[in-house]
Amino acid sequence: MKHLLSIADLSRAELDELLDLAASFLSVTQRETPKVPALRGRTVVSLFFEDSTRTRLSFETAAKRLSADVMVFSVATSSVKKGEGLRDTVATIAAMGIDAVVVRHAAAGAPHRIAEWIDASIVNAGDGRHQHPTQALLDTFTITQHRGRDLSGMRVAIVGDVRNSRVARSDVQALSMLGAEVTLVAPPTLLPETLEGWPCTSAVDLDPLLPDLDAVMLLRIQHERDASTRFPSLREYTARYGLTEDRARRLRPDALIMHPGPMNRGVEIAAAVADGPQSVIGEQVTNGVAARMAVLWKLLGAGGDVV
């Protein structure tokens, strides 16, 4: 495995291996010295063309816990602001001698293009509305930590701004690979125009689904991608799709409540629900570091496939 660009590129065996590795690395991160020398001497660059704090920090933490050197290319203060094109930016970074680039870009497919241009391993940390494979990996890992590897018959609802969500796309692919039944729930204006090729179903009403769910994942309303122009008001959105305390009470007591962050408390999720006993939102963050360590190790260290 050279790159991680899309969950769709993964075989079931590769997904399983990444989840196994994530479990190994989770135990590493829980030690007194949460660090191993596995990627000593390797250099990982984070190249974020879109704002992100948590994903960037998560990747940087993951790389450092593997003892890799981390370079941060901050677009806001860089030559990109002076008009440099993507290809030149990437070529410059590659010329410095690096092993992996973690890319976030507003344009779908940007990481794929970069993978064609340079020799390093590319990790897609979110490209437009397309894919966010490491988020899917950490979400899937979080669920399997609670429910085991076989998710057959498990019902997962992904609620909210599905149309703009690369997380939803990636999650659907990863979860369905393990057998989960995923339902996308959103107002019709926030659902994709077609679900053709998606291994999932969709619904416009959340309430009837609540008693049967094993996990519910709330998505943030992405104001920066025009989402809030697609329904009348945030109050109305919350009234129909927000995971309020009342709705949370109608979930099974063992249903997991998830959110990829950052949260808009009081909009898609009530504050008390986010902090409640069924919430695994904090675990998702912890697991994110382990999942990203698994990816970096698989691309830079593992040196071959499981045989």
């Binding site: 190994s24 191993v36 596995a38 830079l300 040196g303 499981v306 045989v307």
Partner: protein, 221 residues
């Protein structure tokens, strides 16, 4: 016996890492046909060796009070558990047993496929204790080097000792075992195959020496 390729990779803990550049030479390789040279340990031999090593560990450390046995994946944990059972049998002391995965501490990362073989779980604080690392075969010493690094990340043991069933020579680092089942000088092309009931789905334990056909003395056992 069915020997999966993964099994083959793990079978001789250190055999194949001797020289990473030529690491392709292995039991599962497509080169010379491997034939049985000799049976190093029968199940009875191995039981006696476990008993002796268990006694030596207690003798060396004047009791078992400070000892923690740490097995290296994949066969070390089973051997460590046997040693602990033996020690509790004659000494009456329960020796803690841990497991260690050294994959992320190896020095051949990126040179060959590496995958964690199991969890690292040491049930006690190793600081101030005597850690006895336990493995099946000692060869280049690189696994043990990685294990010492991994252990010291968990704490600062008073001492680290090493127990192995077979020392096959071929060291590439200044490392020696404190407790050895049998010294067995081997060639690089040869292969020490360890099969344990707990880890290898076999009816009884065996340790055998295999070598390429026609390039050395045939089985003399």
């Amino acid at each position: 016996m069915a020997e999966s390729r993964r099994d083959a990779g793990r079978a001789t803990s250190e055999h194949e890492h001797a020289t990473p550049a030529s690491g392709g030479r292995s039991v599962s390789g497509s080169g010379d046909r491997m034939v049985l040279r000799t049976t190093v340990f029968s199940a009875d031999d191995l039981r006696r060796a476990h008993t002796r090593i268990a006694h030596e560990i207690v003798e060396r450390n004047r009791g078992a009070a400070e000892v923690v046995l740490v097995g290296l994946h994949s066969r070390g944990p089973a051997i460590a558990a046997r040693l602990a059972t033996a020690i509790s049998g004659f000494e009456g002391a329960q020796v803690p047993v841990g497991t260690l995965d050294v994959t992320f501490h190896r020095d051949d990362v990126g040179l060959r496929p590496l995958h964690p073989a199991g969890p690292t779980a040491v049930p006690v604080d190793v600081t101030g204790r005597v850690v006895v690392l336990v493995d099946d075969v000692l060869f280049t010493g690189r696994t043990i080097r990685a294990a010492m690094d991994a252990i010291t990340e968990l704490g600062r043991p008073r001492a680290i000792q090493l127990a192995v069933l077979v020392d096959r020579g071929g060291r590439e680092l200044p490392i020696r075992a404190d407790f050895v089942g049998r010294n067995l000088p081997t060639r690089l092309a040869e292969d020490v195959r360890v099969r344990l009931v707990e880890t290898d789905d076999v009816p009884e334990d065996t340790i055998e020496l295999w070598g390429p056909e026609g390039s050395g003395e045939e089985a003399d056992a």
